[in-house]
Symmetry: C2
């Protein structure tokens, strides 16, 4: 049974909890025969969904907890109220104790990050964890970070984001050397704020084991110009949500337009396969799963409002991260970069 | 002839120059019978396009200039090389001298801003000008600023952006009290960076003559949740380009999907009217024209790669700004707000 891969799930997280988490786990279990789960939540709420998913029997154990973190709770409050007893806390702690290899939660993002930092701690050499999102592009997918773990980042932190994002892209896309770009408002070296310019200089001048592709702009993300897009949490969050908003807006426009006349309706009916394909490519459930990078353990955040299919995608992401050794890869890459920095910094700073 | 409205046009600006600017002026002249133009550019390059647009005769005068600002020139270089002799400089100067009521240019954005600041100066009480874009939403259009004039903004500058954006929205949409939101990464008061939080506090607590609607997130822009979205130039630029990139990406996906089979192709042919309607709503030429706010004059920047239709839209924007008294409105609003600030600041800061 050495092949077992055990994940901790926060059963009560998300807008609905077990109703999504348990069927999601069942879907993921079908795809990954080695998967087992420890589920943290209220027994009475989990039971009906476990009964409806009998295939999970033997692959899932439950731990009854009475405290759940609310979706709108402030991180500090969640930490106080949920410490040592909420499902979210105990699920993260299962990773810390080595009972589970990763935790997946659809719960309160801020609380999940605060508890994860508290329990798992950041890796040596990492100042700040980041949240990385998977962004659908015309070429496939890219990793974008930070999308909101913290606000602002100095050049050194942006460099860390680059290293961590590269490790994640490598685990997720199975490519050895993903390309990395810094998000900016122009591609010339003189453009942007001081932190981004300095991070660009470090990435250009230091001989890091990293394929740095220079500055990228907002419209380069969707083109898939680079595998990893690095920015600080405020801009990353706004960019991600602006893009999501635009996608919704356009599908809304399209639906309106297709309903305009009988002929467009009939045409739309005939072309239905195409709209299905479009929906499929844009389906947020297929790109679900934000990864918390820089911690001593794998933490994956699912959208709070996703369904079982979306939650299963977040579990897939966790499986990829565990199997491809995300944490070890980040630790090794950071150590390597810090040794390069120590050797090269004096010359580079001249 | 008191009704004449004279605009200065930078004929050589943009990717192609007179080939777009002159037919664009002709289109706009049809819509606005009061419009007249002064065109700054190389006679030899303007002449063929003037000949092709005979309706402009009598409504356009040309000023021959030999120096043009290049699209990729650094602002500092453009200022040195183009001062007092480039078409861009002289067109702005025509506004300063009162010969024209506004200038429209499809040229180098950085150079246009640098020259505009130099010649027109900022309005009293305005620290920094901003570039405002017109963003298509599901409800119509919103004004978003700053989309890249400068990087970073302190609370006071964000407040100025709010005032200026509100004045522009009022001129553009013909509504007396547009709603204003601050772009943030959450709607709670505790979210965001310090500058945004403090600007939020000022807008909430000071009794300003402004309909402040609180924080908005990236996906609220496309929903048209507020008429004016305020942010600093780095984030605004990234948000705008991310949204533009997403729009292109989705239309690309859609085209791909519709070409997949004969049936989807036939359906798409039947539903063509719907796609035309969609294209129309998303057409960047219909939302062209970034307005430089906070200057002693109206400066409108057209996209460099637009066509005559797009350039005519930018001229429309300039006409709206002039007719509705943008500059006077901003000056009055800023004065009013500064007097409110002077009276209320001490209490509010306690």
């Amino acid at each position: 049974m050495t092949d077992k891969l055990i994940l901790a799930l926060d059963a009560m997280g998300g807008d609905v909890g077990p109703e999504v988490v348990i069927p999601g786990a069942a879907l993921a279990a079908e795809r990954h025969p080695e998967l087992h789960f420890i589920l943290f939540g209220e027994d009475a709420k989990m039971k009906p969904w476990l009964d409806k998913n009998p295939k999970l029997a033997g692959r899932i154990q439950t731990r009854h907890v009475e405290v759940s973190v609310n979706m709108d709770e402030k991180p500090s409050q969640a930490l106080r109220r949920g410490r040592n007893k909420s499902g979210m806390w105990l699920a993260i702690d299962a990773v810390h104790k080595g009972e589970a290899r990763a935790i997946v939660s659809a719960g309160n993002t801020g609380a999940l990050m605060a508890m994860s930092r508290f329990i798992l701690r950041t890796l040596p050499g990492i100042e700040r964890p980041a949240i990385a999102a998977v962004w659908p592009t015309t070429r496939g997918e890219s990793v974008v970070l930070d999308v909101g773990a913290t606000v602002g980042a100095d050049p050194r932190q942006l460099l860390e984001f680059a290293i961590m994002g590269e490790a994640m892209a490598s685990c997720l896309f199975g490519i050895e050397h993903p390309t990395v770009g810094l998000l900016n408002i122009g591609v010339e070296e003189v453009k942007g704020n001081e932190d981004v310019k300095e991070a660009g200089r470090l990435l250009r001048e230091l001989k890091l084991p990293l394929r740095y592709a220079g500055f990228v702009e907002g419209d380069d993300i969707g083109k898939g110009k680079v595998d990893v897009v690095v920015t600080e949490g405020f801009t990353g969050n706004v960019a991600l949500k602006s893009a999501e908003g635009t996608a919704k807006q356009i599908t809304h426009f399209l639906r309106d337009a297709l309903r305009a006349t009988l002929i467009t309706k009939f045409g739309a009916w005939l072309a239905n396969g195409a709209f299905d394909a479009l929906r499929e490519r844009l389906d947020p459930r297929k790109h679900n799963g934000g990864v918390f990078l820089g911690l001593n353990g794998v933490v994956v955040k699912s959208h709070g409002s996703t369904d079982a299919l979306g939650f299963a995608t977040a579990i897939d992401v966790a499986v990829d991260m565990v199997k491809n050794g995300l944490v070890a890869k980040i630790a090794a890459d950071v150590a390597e970069v810090h040794s390069v920095l120590t050797q090269q910094q004096p010359q580079a700073a001249e």
